[in-house]
Structure formats: C-alpha cells, structure tokens
C-alpha cells in the first residue's frame, strides 16, 4: 500500500527515473481546520496519475490540473484554497480551513 509521505517521495524518484514528467505538491501553510498537515505530499505525473494527498480529496482535482501546467512549463507555483460559502462544495475545503500548496516540477 503506497500511502505514506515516505513512499510518495520514493515513488516520485522512481517515476522521474523512469522518464515520466512529475510534479510534487506540498502543503506549506494551513489555517483553521485543515485536513492534511503541513508537509503532506501529492505527486502527479504527466498523464494525471497521482499518489498521496494534500487535502483529503476536496481540492486535489484542482492541484492535479495545475500540475499538468507545472510539468509543461517547469515553473513552480503556490496555490491557495479556502472555504467560500457558495463554493465550498466545488473547489474549496468544506471543513472551513485554508491551505497553501506549493506545486513544483521534479526535474
């Protein structure tokens, strides 16, 4: 079962070494009730395969979409997600917290 942050960094290394484009997402800041602690990782490859979690599922779709651009242009970015009442069940955290996520290429 590949679910720990240790497994995820080891897998990022093996994906990259197999020649796949890979992005690494990391929770760098949290406010309020955040589902995953600072330092949690999610890795994404160029085909949209992913492993790990930065949010317990609620904003991962948006992170994965952004990761495709990061792999494409090689530039890191910081994404912020929070709860806005009307969007809480779209891209947001239903738990009411806010998180910042760094998405960077593995190059």
């Amino acid at each position: 079962m590949l679910s720990t942050d240790t497994d995820i960094l080891a897998t990022a290394e093996s994906w990259r070494e197999a020649g796949r484009g890979v992005a690494l997402a990391t929770v760098i800041e949290t406010w309020g009730s955040a589902p995953r602690p600072v330092g949690s990782h999610l890795i994404i490859d160029e085909e949209g395969n992913f492993l790990g979690s930065v949010s317990g599922g609620c904003v991962e779709g948006a992170v994965i979409a952004e990761a495709a651009d990061v792999i494409e242009d090689g530039k890191p970015r910081v994404l912020e997600f929070g709860v806005a009442d009307e969007t809480a069940w779209r891209v947001g955290l239903s738990c009411g917290g806010r998180i910042r996520v760094l998405v960077e290429p593995v190059a």
Binding site: T6, R16, T26, I28, V38, L102, E104, V106, A107
Partner: protein, 232 residues
C-alpha cells in the same frame, strides 16, 4: 525539486539521518541541509529548532518566504517477544507507517511462518540490537515476553537511548519486581518512570489483537504528544 536532491533526501531517510530542505516558494530554488552542517548555514538557529521539533513550515528570511521541509528519521517500533500479541501488532504497526522489527531469542517463537514480511531476529536483545540501526528518539520499544531475562536488557537499552516510547507487558505486581531489578541495574527513578506498564491504553482489551490495538494506540499517543498538546 531537483532529482538529485530528491534522491539524496530519500537516501538520508533510509539511513535514519535528519535533513531539512529549504525551498524558496517564489522561485523554487532549493538547498538541502544535513544536521551536521547546520552551524554553517545562514538560517542556523531556525534550522536547529526545526531539527528538534521535527516540524515543517514557512519561515520569512531576508525578504523571502522559505518553506522548510523537515525530514527526521521515520518512527519505528522494536518489539521484544515473538508472541501472539506481536503477531497482531506487527501488521497493524506497519499500516500506521512504523518500521517494525521483532526480537526473540527463542527460535520456536521467532519463525518466519509466524512473522511473514517483518524484520525478525532470533537473537538475545543485546545481539539483535547491535544488528539494527541504533535505538534513538524516533524508536519505540515494546517488551512483551514476560521473561525478565529477555525483556530487561531491551528495556535498559531503550531507556538509555531515550526512545520516545518504552512499554512493558505485565501486571502491576510484575512491574513492581521489574522496577526493583532496573533500580539495581543502576537506572534512575525518572528513567524507570518512563516505562508504560502495564503496557497499553486502558481500553479493557482482552484478546491478543485488542491488546495490540491498545499498545499501538499508546505508541501513537507518545509519537504525537506535541501535536495533541498544540492548541486547536
């Protein structure tokens, strides 16, 4: 993240050495700092504190916003006794991300058939521990044999190494005699007081699997102590 840095982080982790990755969140520039190199780093005092707390986080320095990925050795559990509780405990502990090793000099107990997929050493604790990475602050030790000849040397080693959790199976009466023996062996009251005995959270556990749950829960509580105390 550069692949060579990622590779180095994974290698250090496998060797149970602490490192901090400093990432500039604006441009992604990175450097890796080992614990031995921390004094020479411009962020020395901040990084030293992070090595102690083990917590990743943002630091603002020289007008930059830096993310510190703190990687301390992964927690592990050393179980003394290849007993029935250990058979239930080993897979549960692995599922919660603990590296597990089981030690028991009794070869009838320490068989691969009883303990598939786990590091198993059919040796006396002193000899077995010499073959494993040294006991450290990131290691938990659970003594489950009920046999002082086997449990006591492991408990002494665990307390001296300041393992984050040290537990021992046995009734209060059994533990009373254990305290006397460890005192005679030269351990302080404070050191002996760190032993969780009788082992496990008091959840009324009966079966070996239930006792394993209570032990694992107590190990996790010790591992996450700082997090539990932190304000919500």
């Amino acid at each position: 993240m550069r692949l060579d840095i990622l590779r180095e982080m994974n290698r250090e982790r496998a060797a149970r050495r602490a490192v901090i990755l400093v990432t500039d969140t604006a441009d992604g520039a990175q450097r890796l700092v080992r614990e031995a190199e921390v004094e020479a780093d411009p962020l020395a005092s901040e990084l030293s504190a992070r090595f102690r707390s083990g917590k990743s986080g943002i630091v603002e320095a020289e007008g930059r916003s830096l993310f510190l990925t703190v990687q301390v050795p992964p927690p592990r559990l050393v179980v003394i006794g290849a007993v029935h509780i250990s058979q239930a405990l080993a897979p549960m502990a692995k599922a919660t991300e603990l590296d597990v090793a089981i030690i028991d000099p009794r070869t009838a107990f320490a068989t691969p058939e009883r303990f598939p997929d786990v590091t198993l050493l059919a040796l006396w604790p002193d000899d077995a521990l010499a073959q494993l990475p040294p006991l450290d602050r990131y290691t938990a030790v659970a003594a489950l044999t009920h046999d002082p000849k086997i449990d006591d040397p492991a408990l002494v080693a665990a307390l001296k190494a300041e393992c984050f959790y040290v537990g021992a199976l046995g009734s209060r009466k059994t533990h009373g005699r254990r305290v006397e023996r460890l005192t005679e062996a030269g351990l302080s009251d404070e050191q002996i007081g760190r032993i969780a005995a009788p082992i496990g959270l008091d959840i009324g556990a009966v079966s070996p699997a239930e006792i394993a749950v209570s032990v694992l829960a107590q190990v996790i509580a010790a591992l996450r102590r700082d997090r539990r105390r932190a304000p919500a």
